[in-house]
C-alpha cells in the first residue's frame, strides 16, 4: 500500500476522523435512505421477502461490477463485458444441449464458458497490453465482434433444453437458507479481496493504475499483469453469465445488453476511480447494491423501464461529481 500512497496525491491517512467515517458510510446511508423513501410509497419494499430478492439480484450485478473493477483499477475498461455474457450464455447452453442436456453436460457448458471467456479476455489483454491499443476502442471493437457472434450462432433464438438441475442448483438452490448465487458472489468477493490486498498481482494492479511508468520502473512486468486482469474480468463475466443462464433456464442472446453500462455504473457509484488505482471489490459490491435497491424500488412503484434508464444515466453523473469532490479534498 505504501507505494500507492507515494504515487497517488490522494493518499489515505491511517487515522479515521469523523469526516472520513461519514465518507465511508455515505453509500450505506444512501442505500438505507433510498429503501425508506421507496418504503413510504410502497410498503412491500421493506418486506423480508423483498430484502432477500434485492440481495439475490445484487449478487449477479456485484459479480459483473467486480469483474469490471479488475480492469478499471488499471485505468482500463471492458466494454465487451455485456456481450461476453450474451455469448457465453448462448454458447454454454448450446454445449450443454449438444452433450445431451444431462447433469454431466453442465461441465461441458462450464468448459465452453471458460474457453470462450478466456479467449476474449486474452485477446483484449494482448491487444491492450501487448500491442498498446487504447482499452476503450479495443473493447468497443471486441464488443461488436462478440455481439455479432452471440446473435448469430444460435440463429438469434434462445437456446432451450438445458439440464433441470442447472436451474434447481445454481438459481433456486440454497444453503443455510441463503440462495446459491449469493454464496457464489460472496465467495468471489472474498477471493478477489484477498487477491487485491495480499498478492503481488493485486498490488501490481493498483500500482499500474496509479502510475504506469512508475510500475515499469518498480520492476513490475505490466504486460502479463494486464493480460491476467482482462482474462480475470472475462472469466468473472462468464461466471455471472452461467448463473444468469441458470436463472432464465435458457441461453439468451440478449442477456447482457445493458450489463456493460450497469456494471460500470455500479463500480463508479461505489467509488472505483476511472483514472485507476483507487477503489476495490468492496466498493463494487456496495455500488451494485445501491443500483439494485434503486431499480428494485422503481420496479415496485412501477416506474417505466425507459425512465429507469434515464435515472441510471443521471445517477452515474451525480456519483461522478460526488466522488470527484471527495478526491479533491
Amino acid at each position: 500500500m505504501s507505494t500507492e500512497a507515494k504515487t497517488q496525491p490522494i493518499a489515505q491517512p491511517s487515522g479515521l476522523s469523523p469526516k472520513e467515517i461519514l465518507r465511508a458510510a455515505r453509500l450505506p446511508i444512501a442505500i438505507v435512505v433510498v429503501l425508506i423513501l421507496f418504503g413510504l410509497v410502497e410498503p412491500r419494499v421493506l418486506s423480508f421477502g423483498n430484502f432477500r430478492n434485492i440481495a439475490l439480484q445484487a449478487s449477479y450485478l456485484a459479480i459483473f461490477a467486480m469483474a469490471q473493477t479488475m480492469v478499471l483499477l488499471t485505468r482500463g475498461f471492458d466494454l465487451s463485458l455485456g456481450y461476453t455474457v450474451s455469448l457465453v450464455s448462448v454458447a454454454a447452453s448450446m454445449a450443454m444441449v449438444a452433450m445431451g442436456g444431462g447433469d454431466v453436460s453442465i461441465l461441458y457448458g462450464v468448459g465452453a464458458a471458460v474457453l470462450i471467456a478466456g479467449a476474449i479476455g486474452l485477446a483484449n489483454g494482448l491487444l491492450i497490453a501487448g500491442i498498446g491499443i487504447n482499452p476503450l476502442v479495443t473493447t468497443l471493437g471486441m464488443a461488436n465482434m462478440v455481439l455479432a457472434l452471440a446473435s448469430t450462432i444460435s440463429g438469434g433464438f434462445p437456446v432451450t433444453g438445458l439440464p433441470k438441475s442447472l436451474t434447481a442448483e445454481f438459481a433456486e438452490g440454497s444453503l443455510l437458507a441463503i440462495p446459491t448465487p449469493i454464496w457464489i458472489a460472496a465467495l468471489v468477493f472474498v477471493l478477489l479481496f484477498l487477491t487485491l490486498k495480499a498478492t503481488r498481482f493485486g498490488r501490481s494492479l493498483y500500482i499500474i493504475g496509479a502510475n504506469p511508468r512508475a510500475a515499469v520502473a518498480a520492476g513490475i512486468r505490466t504486460v502479463p499483469v494486464l493480460v491476467l486482469a482482462y482474462v480475470l474480468c472475462a472469466l468473472l463475466a462468464a461466471l455471472g453469465a452461467l448463473l444468469l443462464t441458470a436463472r432464465t433456464g435458457s441461453g439468451e442472446p440478449n442477456l447482457g445488453g445493458n450489463l456493460t453500462l450497469e456494471a460500470i455504473a455500479a463500480a463508479v457509484v461505489g467509488g472505483v476511480r476511472l483514472s485507476g488505482g483507487e477503489g476495490g471489490v468492496g466498493a463494487a459490491v456496495l455500488g451494485a447494491l445501491f443500483v439494485t435497491v434503486l431499480s428494485n424500488g422503481m420496479n415496485l412503484v412501477q416506474i417505466d423501464g425507459y425512465l429507469q434508464q434515464i435515472c441510471l444515466g443521471v445517477i452515474i453523473i451525480v456519483s461522478l461529481i460526488v466522488n470527484r469532490d471527495e478526491a479533491r479534498r
Binding site: 471493437g141 471486441m142 461488436n144 476511472l274 425507459y306 434508464q309
Partner: protein, 341 residues
C-alpha cells in the same frame, strides 16, 4: 509510453528529418491504402458495385456517416470522446418527426416553414446536449467517456419513453421528396450537405482560431490554458458543434426514412469512432484532420456496401466493423513501434 509521445511529435511538428514511414503515416497512408484496396476489390468481386444507382446509394450512406464522424472528430481532437452521438441522432430524429406531425395539424400546408422549424428545433436539442456534455466535462473535469455514456443512457431513455419504440409517421411529404430523395446536379442533396460540412470543418481546422485552439486543448489542456486559450469555451464550442452535427444527421436520416425513429443510431458511436480512428484521429487528442476522416468514412461505407452486395448478414457486418477497427489500430501501432526500433 514513449511511443505515444512519439505519435504526438510526429503529427504535430513534422521535422524535416521525417522518414518515409513517418510521412506515410502522417498523410493518411493507411486510410488511403485501405480505401483503394476496398474499392478495387469490391469492383472486381462484384461489378454491380459500379452501377450508377449503387454508387448513389453508397454516397448517401457515406454522407450520413461523414457528418457524425466529423462530430466525433471535433470532440476527439479536443481530447474528448462522444458516445452519445448515436443517441442524439435518435433523439433528434424523433424531435424532427414530432415537430412536423404536430405542426401539420396546426399549420396545414406550410410545409417549408415546418421543415425549417423542425430543423431549428432539432439543432437546438443537439446544441443543448453538447452544452451539457461540455459543461460536465469542463466544470467538474469528469471523464468525457463516462459523461457521454451516461448522456447516451438518458437520451435513449427519453426518446424511447416518448415513442415507446414506435416510429413517428406524419413527416411532411416534400421533406422526403426534396431532402431525403432530392438531387442537385445529379448528386444526392444529403451528399452536398455533408460535403459542405466537410469543407467548413477543413476551413475551421486550418484557418480559424477555434480550430487551432481545439488542437491546443486536445494535445495539452494545461499548457493551452497557460498560453491564453480559453479552454472551457473551446471545449464547449467543440461539443456543441458535435451536437449540432449529430442533430443535422438525425434530421437528414429522418428525411431518408420518412419517419422519426428512436431506434436508429445504435452502432453509430462505434462507426464514428472507427471512422475517426482509421482516419488518424488520436485517441489522446490534439491530432486529426477532417479530410482523412472523410476518406475513412468513405472506406467504411464502401465495405458496408460490398458486404450488402455479396449478401453478408448485417450482424456479421458488425463483426467486420469491430475487426477493421482493431486491425487498423494494431497496424498503426506496430508501424510506429517499428519506426522507433
Amino acid at each position: 509510453m514513449s511511443s505515444e509521445t512519439a505519435t504526438m511529435t510526429v503529427a504535430n511538428a513534422p521535422s524535416h528529418r521525417a522518414s518515409r514511414l513517418d510521412r506515410f503515416l502522417m498523410q493518411g497512408g493507411i486510410v488511403i491504402t485501405f480505401l483503394v484496396v476496398a474499392v478495387v476489390a469490391t469492383a472486381l468481386i462484384e461489378p454491380r458495385f459500379l452501377n450508377r444507382l449503387n454508387l448513389l446509394n453508397v454516397m448517401r450512406n457515406f454522407a450520413l456517416l461523414l457528418i457524425p464522424s466529423l462530430a466525433q472528430m471535433l470532440v476527439m481532437t479536443a481530447g474528448g470522446f462522444d458516445l452519445s452521438v448515436g443517441a442524439v441522432v435518435a433523439a433528434t430524429s424523433v424531435v424532427t418527426a414530432a415537430v412536423m406531425l404536430v405542426g401539420s395539424i396546426y399549420f396545414p400546408g406550410m410545409e417549408l416553414a415546418l421543415i425549417i422549424a423542425s430543423l431549428v428545433i432539432a439543432l437546438g436539442v443537439g446544441a443543448l446536449v453538447g452544452l451539457v456534455n461540455a459543461g460536465l466535462v469542463s466544470i467538474f473535469s469528469l471523464s468525457p467517456f463516462m459523461v457521454t455514456l451516461a448522456m447516451m443512457s438518458v437520451l435513449m431513455g427519453i426518446a424511447l419513453y416518448f415513442t415507446q419504440g414506435i416510429p413517428i409517421y406524419g413527416v411532411v411529404d416534400s421533406f422526403v421528396a426534396n431532402v431525403g430523395r432530392g438531387q442537385f446536379l445529379s448528386l444526392p442533396i444529403v451528399l452536398w450537405v455533408a460535403l459542405g460540412v466537410l469543407a467548413a470543418c477543413i476551413i475551421m481546422q486550418r484557418f480559424t482560431a477555434l480550430g487551432r485552439h481545439i488542437y491546443a486543448v486536445g494535445s495539452d489542456q494545461r499548457s493551452a490554458r497557460l498560453s491564453g486559450v480559453a479552454t472551457s469555451r473551446t471545449l464547449i464550442a467543440a461539443y456543441m458543434l458535435a451536437g449540432l452535427l449529430a442533430a443535422l444527421t438525425g434530421f437528414l436520416m429522418t428525411s431518408r426514412l420518412g419517419s422519426g425513429q428512436s431506434t436508429i443510431g445504435g452502432t453509430l458511436a462505434l462507426e464514428t469512432i472507427a471512422a475517426a480512428v482509421i482516419g488518424g484521429v488520436s485517441l489522446r487528442g490534439g491530432v486529426g484532420r477532417a479530410e482523412l476522416v472523410a476518406l475513412a468514412a468513405l472506406f467504411l461505407s464502401v465495405i458496408a456496401n460490398a458486404m450488402n452486395l455479396v449478401q453478408v448478414d448485417s450482424k456479421y457486418q458488425t463483426l467486420v466493423l469491430g475487426a477493421v477497427l482493431i486491425v487498423a489500430l494494431a497496424i498503426e501501432r506496430l508501424l510506429l513501434r517499428k519506426r522507433q526500433a
